[in-house]
């Protein structure tokens, strides 16, 4: 049976959503098999240079999920624009020069025409310069020989020191920033693939489709080649944290999943990245992503509520093990423990988050403590926590529903109605901000814009 595999996430704001999931476990055609032997040309990258396997990146430029599953033939057969031109050395050089010119012209955060131009390239063309540069940065003997040539140094505008050391970090980081901005600034306007290349998008539990975005993965590939290793480069870490925060903030969960997966390979002990991994799985366990209407014979790539909550618990615990003074991780671990049916443990964790000074965190802690106390039949404590949450955000509906239901379950019909009346009498001013619970999934990345600004500054310095 052929299954569509759709990576779903929720588009609460109607902005963007979901990801698709060939990238996770379908055999993906890389579209690079010929480029290995064809690459070389006047810059002399030889046949012995290993080409990075892009299958896990979902590199296929075309093909719906059905097509990818049923016919894992080389994607180059489906590549927009055909393959003949890709074999042509002059064409590749032209693309590499164009890409390098865009790099030189690009200022982080600015949608220059050159960047917009790269945003219109199809995936096969994008492979050309990225493959070229990452091979040169590999440190292999053939790469060193190529870098030693004056023509290569002129092409790349390398300094003598960069050429001598084989250090392409500046170009790699500029390239990563270029592709990051193409993704961030909405400059990706590729021609529609011949056979799909769509991402499932969920809004209000229903499926839609969007073109698949590819520039994040090119940015990652470039950073993977940073020397001496990406794991030892603080800029790479900051890039992963900022871009993951952005993806989570935009509810681009499929893309965030790929980012986090690679980030954990590079930085397995980073408390922030572990925390983001927990947030991702916690979000996947939410009703927004669980109560969805899928087409027949389709499935999502994430798990059901229980397994996703357990994954979230694992990552939050790992994060706290590295950084015990992390109130937001305690908060989320506490909530997850509650949802997993361990209210005593949940209360203990939530109490570690309760002293937080941030009113939004305090609101969450109070709300969740109320629920866990209710589970433990500590009704007075529950009421007090709910009331505290209600006092922090008077327009929030969640604590009032909680207070009303708590009263009703105690046969206090009047109390139930009074709390409900407060909901009805309070006009909804903002369907996203009145109640912080409505943006609980975004709370851990509310600093996303600031983080992006920081990497703009850092990567901008590299260009200078």
């Amino acid at each position: 049976m052929i299954l569509f595999r759709i990576f779903v996430s929720l588009n609460l704001a109607g902005l963007v959503l979901i990801g698709a999931l060939q990238a996770f476990d379908f055999p993906q055609p890389s579209g690079l098999s010929n480029s290995q032997k064809d690459f070389g040309g006047r810059w002399g990258v030889d046949d012995g240079m290993r080409i990075r396997d892009c299958r896990r990146e979902g590199a296929a430029p075309g093909g719906t999920y059905r097509a990818a599953a049923a016919n894992p033939a080389p994607a180059k057969m489906q590549a927009p624009g055909g393959t003949e031109k890709k074999r042509d050395s002059s064409y590749r050089r032209e693309k590499i020069e164009e890409w390098l010119a865009a790099l030189a012209a690009h200022k982080p955060g600015r949608p220059e025409p050159a960047a917009a131009g790269i945003g219109r390239w199809d995936e096969g063309d994008l492979e050309i310069p990225v493959d070229f540069v990452t091979k040169l940065a590999s440190g292999s003997s053939s790469a060193k020989r190529t870098l030693a040539r004056a023509s290569t140094r002129r092409l790349l505008h390398l300094t003598d020191q960069e050429a001598r050391e084989g250090n392409l970090n500046r170009i790699l980081k500029q390239g990563a920033m270029l592709h990051t901005d193409i993704a961030l600034l909405g400059l990706e306007k590729r021609p529609p693939p011949l056979l799909g290349g769509q991402m499932g998008v969920f809004a209000d539990g229903r499926l839609g489709m969007q073109p698949k975005k590819v520039h994040w993965k090119f940015a990652r590939r470039l950073l993977d080649s940073v020397s001496p290793s990406p794991a030892r480069d603080p800029m790479v870490r900051k890039w992963y944290i900022a871009t993951t925060a952005h993806m989570l903030n935009q509810r681009l969960l499929a893309y965030a999943g790929r980012n986090i997966e690679r980030a954990l390979e590079i930085f397995p002990s980073d408390d922030k990245i572990l925390f983001y991994a927990g947030v991702l799985h916690e979000t996947w366990a939410s009703p927004c992503n669980q109560n969805i209407l899928l087409p027949p014979l389709s499935e999502v790539i994430y798990g059901s509520k229980g397994p996703e909550l357990k994954r979230a618990r694992h990552f939050f615990r790992e994060s706290i093990a590295r950084n015990p003074d992390f109130p937001e991780a305690h908060l989320r671990l506490g909530r997850v423990l509650g949802l997993l049916g361990t209210p005593q443990q949940a209360v203990a964790e939530l109490q570690l988050a309760a002293p937080a000074k941030d009113p939004q965190l305090l609101y969450y802690a109070s709300l969740f403590l109320g629920r866990e106390c209710e589970m433990l039949s500590r009704r007075t404590d529950a009421r007090n926590h709910y009331q505290r949450a209600a006092s922090l955000y008077p327009a929030a509906q969640s604590p009032l529903f909680a207070l009303s239901q708590l009263a009703h379950s105690g046969d206090d019909a009047e109390g139930a109605l009074v709390a409900l009346q407060r909901i009805f009498e309070s006009p909804v001013r903002d369907f996203w901000k009145d109640d912080p619970r409505w943006v609980y999934d975004l709370a851990p990345v509310r600093d996303a814009d600031q983080l992006i600004a920081e990497i703009y500054s850092l990567f901008g310095e590299v260009a200078q």
Partner: protein, 286 residues
């Protein structure tokens, strides 16, 4: 059907128009009697039999609801998935339902997406309900469970026959309250819940459980243009239900009371809530 333990002190009002039930230790069960798929409407009190936790009860009266004013709380999904033609049909269905109400009947409107909004309290001025429905705009996600809770509690504020009609695609994506907690609320409420869902729902869903606990029905419509006829059918069926009343005797005061309602006529089946929750005098006093 609506099984209800009418305890109660007076409740605060949501609007000045509301009246509230006064304490009385009687149980009301809302019962639909069916034969050959059609409601049976010629039954007498003596035709009914009620077992409360297995103990036969003395029925005080069984009255056809057609003769009584109803209070209908409409709980409508206004999330993004309702936009377009579906919303047009939903509004038309509500307008036809309102047009079919009598002078003594009341209606109110709750809409839900991310938030739960009282469009109109229960009122005899049905124009207010129509206006509220015209103002509502689809947006965001579905707080179905929270809104169902609000509908149940709002329905309790009326002494008239409380009917809650929920329209949704049946998928909650945003509520704070849990489905189980609201099902507990339904066990304490005398409101009958009818639900209309677009498309077929999985076997185990909140809406299916809710209508079962309240003794109502779930209608799954494939074509939204059928909504007006569906809503009128719901009202018609509700008016053909019986209100069966008794004062519990020989059973424990508190806890879950399993109900078994029967009609002593061959070929007639009943639909009624499976039980209700009652608290002891001491518990209520606390």
């Amino acid at each position: 059907m609506s099984a209800v333990f009418i305890a109660a002190a007076a409740l605060a009002a949501v609007s000045k128009e509301h009246t509230f039930r006064v304490a009385a230790e009687e149980v009301r069960i809302d019962v639909l009697a069916i034969a050959d798929g059609r409601p049976v409407t010629d039954l007498k009190t003596a035709d009914f039999e009620v077992l409360d936790n297995g103990v036969r009860q003395q029925i005080q009266y069984a009255t056809l609801q057609r003769k009584m004013p109803v209070a209908i709380t409409l709980v409508f999904d206004m999330s993004a998935s309702v936009a377009g033609e579906l919303l047009v049909h939903l509004r038309n269905a509500a307008y036809e339902l309102l047009a079919d109400l009598g002078n003594e009947d009341r209606a109110g409107l709750i809409t839900f997406n991310n938030a739960v909004v009282l469009g109109s309290p229960l009122t005899r001025d049905l124009a207010l309900v129509r206006q509220a429905l015209e103002r509502a705009r689809p947006f965001g996600n579905s707080s179905l469970i929270d809104a169902s809770y609000a509908g149940l509690v709002l329905a309790e504020t009326q002494s008239d026959l409380p009917l809650v009609i929920i329209f949704s695609d049946g998928r909650d994506t945003f509520s704070w309250l849990s489905g189980d907690s609201v099902l507990e609320t339904a066990k304490r409420s005398d409101a009958v819940v009818y639900a209309v869902s677009t498309g077929r729902l999985p076997n185990k869903t909140f809406l299916k459980d809710l209508v079962e606990f309240s003794g109502g029905s779930l209608f799954e419509v494939e074509m939204s243009k059928n909504l007006p006829a569906m809503f009128l059918e719901i009202l018609d069926e509700f008016r053909r239900r019986y209100l069966v009343t008794y004062t519990p005797t020989g059973v424990a005061e508190s806890g879950w009371h399993k109900l078994d309602v029967r009609v002593k006529r061959r070929g007639v089946h009943v639909r009624a809530r499976p039980g209700y929750i009652r608290k002891s005098r001491e518990e209520r006093a606390r």
